[in-house]
Amino acid sequence: MNYDRILIRYGEISTKGRNRNKFIDKLRKSVRIALTTFPSVKIEASRDRMYVLLNGENAKDIIEKLKHVFGIQSFSPAIKVEKELETLKKMALHLVQSQYNEGQTFKVTAKRSDKTFELNTDEINHTLGGYLLQNIAGIKVDVKNPDINVRVEVRKEAIYLSCETIPGAGGLPMGSSGKAMLMLSGGIDSPVAGYLSMKRGLELEAVHFFSPPFTSERAKEKVVDLSKKLAEIGGGSITLHIVPFTEVQQAIREQVPENYTMTSTRRMMLRIADEIRKNREGLAIITGESLGQVASQTLESMYAINEVTNTPILRPLISMDKNDIIKIAEEIDTLTISNRPFEDCCTIFVPSSPKTKPKREKVNQYESYFDFEPLIQEAVQKVETITIKPGREHSQEFKELF
């Protein structure tokens, strides 16, 4: 059976009021980007449904792509049928025959939004069900757990027939919630935090702190690779800001007692990230913090660190256990990259016994003997900004070798 379209059901978008069109536009854009490799498809969006018209493109490959688009609740490959009973019967038979294996059960689920259609929902179920029973030897009805669920949607313009419903990725369409900066260290947590934020419709720009020669090129490469993964998930490009952090870090080492360096370092990072956010017109900062995981993520630490800004700090992992975070990292395929063994901005300069309960007064006092502001401004100015596209951009480097 050749499907001619895929019917997409919106998730939470359908609960939106006057903003709905904006959400639908974003979703249409995401779908368009996800399907760029299929030039013939056409996307039709209406208030409560979206249709991807296949125009001869491969349904199976498109289904794979759609599974990862945020903002889709579920979708079904479908055929558009004229609103005429005999045609409907024939097409339904054709469709079920193509799916049917000996001994399977089925049911018909009709929905009728166009009340002018000659049959009502029950009548459609009965008529079609009877017709299928008569024409397919051995098929049985099971309304509780059918192997094949024939969905019939009678709408104003036509009837849509489909046999399977595939769950989508859920969430909100990419970029529908605005822009935020993601603190991306290279560890396991931050890419997961980025992923979860993207799922809720946030557009990300990543910020990474680079301290050569204390952290290596390879740590930076890790972050580039992680950003690429996130770009692939989102289907769009991701902006990565690489902050030269060596001088700030050295100043902290000289000015702040060892057990407070970690707290102070995080405060400086946050100040810099916030400056970049201002320049890039973002509205929040995302971190991969999980309560109590390490010394910098105790409530006392967060209280001391968070003092430097009143920008909302989003912590999608705050209540998650490490194992659950690792599970997501595996699913989104960032775990192996994060596990590469290179020093990064979080692992280097860790004091042997960092304060788990730092005090605001103390850290302010230590920082007051030195003016960090010029160093922070300099770091912000020297930020290296790269745009990371999904796909195999880095393979251009060695393209001819493969």
């Binding site: 290596s216 490469e221 395929d333």
Partner: protein
């Protein structure tokens, strides 16, 4: 010259050699080195792995580089057997496997494992039903080749994989060395846990191969050392070889649709023409046979003599498999198929690549007919 011994090895593509040379010359860093020159080599290795995973439709993390088919087979079989020896010590395989499988099994037998060798029918095929019947409580591994290297019989991998979905704890290894680019294989759908490939059978270089290992499957490594390849295969990575392998695989699979059709035509031509000769008996089955191998016997002539006679005309074919032909023993596959020893003793294997032509086949047919006539006179 006419090269009809492509199951022994193939001619490396020029583009493959170019890649190998460029990488060896310019990117000779060690992927494990911390500096950026090492990082560059690592990127190359990662990209090779990604490219291969994409071509085989599996995950990047499921591709491991090895030194070839023999190592992949040994690693999968011994590695899996030892890893799971506390769960059971029974392994199932066929009686027509390549020596790198068969002798690995023999070695395991000496280490206290029990091996069941499944018989084959007259076409060289095992049955999925026999596999299931052989399964015991302590069976941990089943190893079956995809395509037989001596006669070209295709084994029912899909059926076995389907059946094994009901036995989730049994590991399934497939030796696909002869099948890649010739017979399609769906690693994920066919529930395969381990699969061996060798680059020089598809116009890559000797000394490079792949072991596919499904995510979640476990092995005990055979080599101790620097824990490269996800701790599975220690030893400094052969980056140039891996890149060359990726290129060879891409070129092979892009050409495969047309290439397979072409080989089928040539194989049919050879079969039809050679069958006309009364002295020739075709050993390769008609059904379930790979498109690139045609095995036949010339009654009353020793295969080695026949090979050398063809060689005088610059036609290169082989006795049985290159790996066992030096031992001068009759083809074990043919004997397992129940072919009489005299016929097995005179077996010749023609094996094709996408590069062979019908014109070559016609010339070879003529040469074979002449040789049969000539040797017939002498041998009588």
């Amino acid at each position: 010259m006419i090269y009809f011994d492509n199951s022994a090895t193939t001619r490396p593509y020029k583009e493959v050699l170019d890649s190998f040379l460029t990488v060896s010359r310019n990117y000779y860093g060690n992927p494990s080195s911390l500096h950026s020159f090492g990082a560059q080599a690592e990127r190359l290795l990662t990209q090779a792995r990604e490219a291969i995973a994409k071509l085989l439709q599996v995950k990047t993390s499921e591709i491991y580089f090895t030194s070839g088919g023999t190592e992949s087979n040994n690693l999968a079989i011994k590695g899996a057997a030892f890893r799971h020896r506390n769960r059971g010590k029974h392994i199932i395989t066929s009686s027509v496997e390549h020596p790198s499988v068969r002798l690995a099994m023999e070695q395991l037998k000496q280490a206290g494992f029990e091996i069941t060798y499944l018989p084959v029918d007259e076409t060289g095929r095992i049955s999925a039903i026999d596999v299931e019947k052989a399964i015991r409580k302590d069976t941990t591994l089943i190893s079956i080749m995809q395509v037989n290297n001596e006669v070209g019989t295709i084994q029912p991998i899909e059926e076995i994989g389907e059946m094994l979905k009901r036995y989730p704890t049994i590991l399934f290894h497939v030796d696909a060395v002869q099948g890649i680019g010739k017979v399609p294989l769906a690693l994920h759908e066919d529930r395969i846990d381990f699969c061996s490939f060798s680059a020089h059978k598809f116009h890559g270089l000797k000394g490079t191969g792949i072991l596919y290992m499904r995510d979640g499957a476990r092995l005990t490594p055979l080599f101790s050392g620097g824990n490269q390849e996800g701790k599975l295969r220690s030893g400094t990575e052969n980056v140039a070889g891996a890149v060359a392998l990726a290129k060879a695989l891409r070129m092979t699979l892009t050409k495969s649709e047309a290439g397979i059709e072409r080989m089928k035509t040539i194989q049919n031509l050879l079969r039809t023409e050679l069958s006309k000769n009364e002295a020739i008996h075709i050993n390769t089955p008609v059904e379930n046979a790979a498109p690139h191998i045609l095995n036949f016997s010339v009654k009353g002539s020793k295969s080695e003599v026949f090979i050398h006679s063809l060689e005088e005309k610059e036609i290169f074919v082989s006795t049985t498999s290159a790996c066992s032909s030096k031992k001068k023993s009759a083809s074990s596959t043919l004997l397992a198929m129940g072919v009489p020893e005299t016929i097995a003793d005179s077996a010749i294997r023609i094996s094709l690549s996408y590069e062979n032509t019908e014109a070559e086949a016609l010339e070879v047919i003529k040469a074979i007919e002449n040789t049969v006539k000539r040797l017939g006179r002498v041998m009588k």
